[in-house]
Symmetry: C2
Subunit: 124 residues, 2 copies
């Protein structure tokens, strides 16, 4: 797949895809004879994984660490798992925080509805 196809498929700009590669987040993508990127299934999977993790707010730094260990082979499984566990914890607490903010927002919105309900909207 060309870079623009991957860009469309995952809704990530080509600039960002190249950026991910040069900072070592996305493992080297295969090239055609003339040097163009030719994403294979592995590359696509990585892109998809990165997109998912980034959208959930995992920092690029942690993802680079993870991907780097990955390239280093099976012996790094332990360390990779540690990263995932750490990020999992962080994610859980962000979700909790967001949920409580959400219910606060809900209450606030209900209040606004209340203000506007019995009378203020005029009776005919």
């Amino acid at each position: 797949m060309t870079i623009s196809e991957v860009s469309k498929k995952y809704d990530i700009s080509t600039d960002t895809l190249r950026y991910y590669e040069r900072i070592g987040l996305l493992p080297h993508v295969p090239r055609t004879k003339s040097g163009l990127r030719d994403y294979d299934e592995n590359s696509c999977k990585s892109v998809e994984f990165i997109k998912c993790m980034r959208n959930a707010g995992l920092p690029i730094e942690a993802l680079i660490e993870y991907m780097t260990l990955f390239k280093e082979g099976d012996s790094t499984a332990e360390a990779r798992m540690a990263i995932l566990i750490e990020q999992r914890e962080a994610l859980i607490s962000r979700i909790e925080e967001m949920k409580s903010t959400l219910s606060r927002l809900d209450r606030k919105i209900e209040m606004y509805k209340g203000i506007c309900s019995p009378g203020c909207c005029g009776k005919k």
Copy 2:
């Protein structure tokens, strides 16, 4: 309350507190005769609200709009509510996204545990 007390209480740097004020996010904080900030209950409530919303990822821009409308009085209630509803929607979808990433992480971690379980850690 002095700025440093508020800073400790809400765990927000004094720089950030002043920053919020100058960008119009935090309504003007009362001052002492000599010009020092002297946070009253209202100011504190605003700080707490902002902190909560920011931690959940609401953009400063939206919060400024909200606060600005607030200052403009009751006639803006409708518009304020609209902002809250909009942000609520955004928050919900972020939470959903994060939850699905969380379960993906969970599965991945289970996989790592699996790899390491029956045998690889040596018997004895």
